[in-house]
């Protein structure tokens, strides 16, 4: 599988970040919480959309933005350089942010976020996020395991970082999925861009982070219609009341069920061309759709 390393134009600072990650993982669980420094820029992409890049102005902006992996209790320091024509910030709803100010075009702002809770959190530009200024900040438990899945026989199987074969970040924005494929250890990130087809191999342990940006989130299934809940109305568009939620779901075993711990309880059997789509905070719906 192609493992493209994202935007490494400024090796020095990125290497610093990786070293911090590596240190956090290798050292004994009794270590003090770490401080992560990320140098991020907001850039304009060729089609006019905006995106975050890890590194300086020559770093390539990606949508979703670079996924940031930290541990519960860590502090995240962001230095944001705004290379766009709009005011841009950095905000992580659900965590403690110290700075709500935005950077004017050409300016730099500093933000400190305390990763006091575990979960997958949206970070966004505090305006213009619908144009691409969003990404995921994943906060894992300080001590392994980081997550669990339910096996075929109903048993709960704990999972460590090292157990993961791959991870996906999926953002729902408007009616478009934006994705990133990430190596199990979080170090290699490949942009999958808009409406990708995700792939895995049977028995892979795959961790999904599904997040959304924007109010009134719509689910529309192209060329498909279904019945509006509780009625005989045939619809193909449904307005969802989901705002910036994130779910983890782990899948193991191609033909088995995918279950999720936490907010979401779901069933999804990943056979040919099926998509798991969130329709509410507490329900995951399986739909099938034709190949274009």
């Amino acid at each position: 599988m192609n493992k493209k390393i994202f935007g490494l134009k400024n090796p020095a600072s990125t290497l610093t970040a990786f070293i911090l990650f590596a240190v956090t993982l290798l050292v004994s669980p009794m270590v003090l919480a770490a401080v992560h420094n990320f140098s991020i820029s907001a850039n304009t992409l060729p089609n006019g959309q905006l995106g975050y890049a890890l590194g300086g102005s020559t770093a390539e902006a990606v949508i979703p933005g670079p996924a940031l992996f930290v541990k519960q209790g860590d502090t995240v320091q962001i230095t944001l350089t705004n290379n766009t024509a709009f005011e841009v910030g950095f905000s992580v709803p659900g965590l403690i942010n110290n700075n709500t100010a935005k950077a004017k075009p050409g300016q730099t702002q500093n933000y400190t976020v305390h990763a006091n809770k575990t979960g997958s959190f949206v970070y966004h530009g505090n305006g213009k996020e619908l144009l691409g200024l969003f990404g995921a900040l994943i906060v894992d438990k300080k001590n392994a395991p980081i997550d669990s899945y339910i096996n075929d026989d109903g048993g709960i199987v704990p999972v460590t970082q090292a157990d993961l074969d791959k991870q996906f970040i999926l953002f729902m924005v408007g009616s478009t999925f934006w994705g990133t494929e990430i190596s199990g250890d979080g170090t290699h990130q490949k942009p999958l861009w808009a409406n990708p087809n995700l792939g895995a191999v049977e028995n892979d342990l795959v961790r999904f982070h599904v997040l959304s940006v924007g109010p009134g989130h719509t689910f529309h299934l192209h060329a498909h219609r279904w019945l509006k809940t509780g009625t005989n109305t045939v619809i193909d568009t449904k307005l969802l009341d989901v705002v910036q939620i994130a779910i983890h779901l782990l899948s193991k075993q191609a033909v088995a069920s995918v279950r999720v711990i936490g907010n979401i309880i779901a069933t999804c059997s990943p056979t040919w061309k099926q998509a798991c789509t969130v329709v509410s905070r507490s329900k995951l719906l399986v739909v099938t759709e034709p190949v274009w």
């Binding site: 599988m1 006019g48 408007g174 478009t176 808009a194 792939g199 009134g216 193909d236």
Partner: protein, 647 residues
Amino acid sequence: MHGSFKVETVGSDGASVVGASPYGRILLGTKDEPGLVTFEITDEPGSWFRSARGDAIVGLGAGIRTKSLEVIAPGSSVNFIMSDTNAVHTISSLLWPTGAHHIPSNQTDAYRGGGIAKLDTPGLYVFTCKIHPYMFGAVIVDDPETADSNGNLALDLGDKASNFKIDLATGIKGLPTNSDLAIRLLKTFFVATSPGNWQDYSSGSWNVKFPDLPVVISGAPFSTVLTDGGFTTPLNILDIPPTSLPTSTPPTVKGVGEVWVNTQFEKTAGKYKAGTITVVDTTNWTVKRKIALPGINMNNPHNMWPTRDQSVIYATQWFDNKLTLINRENGQLIKNIQVGYAPSHVMTLPSTDDLTIAINGENGISVMPAGTTTVTKMMPTQAHGHTSASPHGHWVSADGSKIITPNINTGDVGIYAADGDIQSRTATGQGAPGAHPIAIGMMPDSSKIYATNLLHHSLSVLNGHTGELIKTINLIADYNPITGAFADNDGNGEIAVGVLPIQTPVSPDGKAVVIAATGGQILVIDTATDKIVKMFGCDPGCHGANFGAKKDGGYYAYVTSKFSNRLTVVDVDPNGDGDLSDAKIAGYVSLVDNGSNAKDDTVSGLPGFGGQGVLAIPNVYNGWVQNLPEDWKSGLTAAQRDPVGAH
């Protein structure tokens, strides 16, 4: 949202397939991978579909005045996000290359979200919104192999394999792109989405600029002959060089009272959203007030109606979810109320003065009892569980017993009792998909209903009590869609055409229907024969029409246009003898701030543009005029005070 997760057997690579990239194969893209262009959906005049790099596109020069056009390679995708709008919309295909895959795009309901489509077939794709049908976004999928004689990239307006023909959402298939109709649609796109191409009567000059880009079409423009392999021509052959615009000469005979005009695109300094209300004094034909309401960021005011005593004006914010109450006397805000999404038209029941509001982005008529500021119910325009009707420009019968709605999403005219009981639903448009019935007029005795079908270019005549369809008048019978020639094909003695008809009021005395057609025509229909008797030219984006009293007897029809800044005044019967043959345009009134009119904000752009809803005060329609206060009645003749009574 489209995505799939494929799990393969052990031994396969299980690789993900990358989706559409903002760096990929789009005009000026940097990488050889499937590309993505993105349109933001906005409430901004002209730029309702605004490319994320719209400013850069206009900055390219080359005669491009629109931010609503993108160019991609086959296999790239177009993405839409409703990021700068307060309303709900659909993202619906209007036209596309014959044989295109994954198209047409459409949705059953208006919503807030986005859309994405992968486009493989070369050609022109135009997208619109079913709720606000002048919102346009266009993508040209360009086959990199086609070029002009100088080797410059020539943009394919169709697929070579289909002779560069296009299909329309209204059921027309295989329309050659060199036909007059296709060229008219192209002009409509480049005028509507480019404020620089609008008619500014205050500047005195008008020029229409098309991009200096070569395109490939089915044959020589307007020819009936198709060229094998396509015909290449620069788009700028359609340019209209600078033309002087006449100053607006108002009618010699005065009107009575005021005319309130929704100058829906006018921009003011104190707010982000567009739209003002311009009040014209008909006793001297000048602008007396401009109402912007910056304190509530009033957003695209569309249609109005007064209270019984004319003291309060109700106005809908069509790109929002608000109903605004305004003091008629001083133009100040009374209250701003949240109703449903994309409220379009408002009208009171003349019997009770209760207010009915068409909730165009949803599926009902909301009711606000007279004298209150709370909506008490929404009456569904369809049976429970049925497709949302999305009503647009409704009317109420003179006795207040019936509400008639044009249901754009379901292609029918609905008659509802004042309490909401669904009495009848009648399909219009003669079975054409997407006929888009958009506005209603009614005889003062309620005997007949008139409904315009925007995309079918027709007028439906229905029985006012049963809703039964009496006849459908083809408003483009005299038009040849290939050559563009006008001839009296329907044999009614008049050469008359109404392309894209919108508002269609009946004169208070029941003699005539006046139709504002956005293709640039005003039509007069004789209600005795239901035949077209006159056609006048109208400014681009001709849209709204409503009747008001003429001084000392008779009526004026006040007509508005979106892409100009003057009001057209039509007199269907200047000598008042009941014969419509002397119908004429009586004059024009500028809608531009004249420096001395009252105002609550400073005009900062698009002066006087966006004319849509129009309302004469006092309200002289039968059923309402009888309830006017005495001081308003005193300015009217006996016949005007009782338009269908014996006198």
